[in-house]
């Protein structure tokens, strides 16, 4: 099953699309959580449970949005590619690897696209949960979550650097600067 899936990914070069979706939507999730946390940090103090509920709500919405939007768009794209190839081959490719790919791969991409922002958001929210559970952290829960968000954004930058073959530190710093600029923008328009 896994071998077959890997073969389908290879034939259709879908691993590149999935990787791109993972980074784009993972970054989306991290920045959204960072924005929420910065917003709560500079607003009138509210109970930690309110912050957690808002963040979890946003994380779930990002996950569902990522999953459904990717599934709809990729299913349409893969069907279109399949029809174009069938016209060129003058054959029905429904039973071939291409036919299976048109059905299976949009689901795989949708899962990646939905899971990336959800998992990253949940990681960022973790310090809030730990704080609520009464655990002592090095920082208060909101700043700790903010640091987690910045660290994950930095890691995504490093991953991008590895893909592009550029210096990992510069790539990480670049994404970190985007996160800092986003926080500054939120503070500016507050």
């Amino acid at each position: 099953m896994l071998r077959q899936l890997r073969a389908l990914l290879q034939i259709t070069h879908t691993q590149l699309i999935a990787r791109r979706y993972f980074i784009v939507n993972g970054f989306d999730g991290a920045l959204t959580m960072q924005g929420l946390i910065v917003g709560f940090e500079v607003s009138a103090p509210v109970d930690l449970s309110v912050v957690i509920t808002a963040c979890v709500g946003a994380a779930v919405a990002l996950g569902v949005s990522g999953m459904t939007s990717a599934w709809l768009s990729e299913a349409a794209e893969k069907q279109n590619e399949l029809r174009a190839l069938e016209r060129a081959m003058v054959a029905d490719l429904g039973a071939s690897a291409y036919g299976r790919a048109a059905h299976v791969l949009p689901v795989v991409i949708a899962l990646v696209n939905g899971a990336a922002p959800l998992m990253i958001s949940l990681l960022i929210i973790t310090p809030l949960w730990l704080g609520q559970a009464g655990m002592t952290l090095l920082l208060p829960p909101l700043p700790a979550a903010l640091v987690t968000a910045l660290a994950l954004i930095f890691l995504l930058g490093i991953y991008l650097g590895r893909i592009s073959g550029t210096f990992w530190l510069w790539s990480g710093i670049r994404t970190l600067l985007i996160a800092v600029a986003t926080a500054a923008l939120i503070l500016l328009i507050r």
Binding site: L85, A88, M89, A91, S96
Partner: protein, 92 residues
């Protein structure tokens, strides 16, 4: 009983999987066979390839299924070599 020793197929295939992956997939399903793939023509989305498979006892249906499974289609069987083996004599 006759065994297929060599078969040359004219095949229309999508660009992906490429020739190497395509040949490896055929070889996977044809134990101890030798596969040679030659690209004849290349179009925008497809390419015509000549696939030569040699082995001691080739299973044409298995080769056909691999080719079809990868989205390609066999246009013609251009060459075939078949060898008959002597039936063992019935005892008694």
């Amino acid at each position: 009983m006759a065994c297929v020793k060599r078969i040359v197929l004219d095949v229309l295939k999508p660009h992906q999987p490429n020739g190497l992956e395509f040949s490896l997939a055929i070889a996977d399903k044809s134990p101890s066979a030798r596969v040679k793939l030659t690209v004849a023509t290349v179009d925008e989305k497809t390419e015509t390839v000549v696939i030569e498979v040699e082995g001691s006892n080739l299973d044409y249906q298995a080769i056909h299924d691999v080719i079809a499974g990868l989205g390609a289609s066999i246009h013609s069987i251009d060459e075939v070599e078949v060898e008959s083996t002597a039936e063992p004599e019935a005892a008694g």
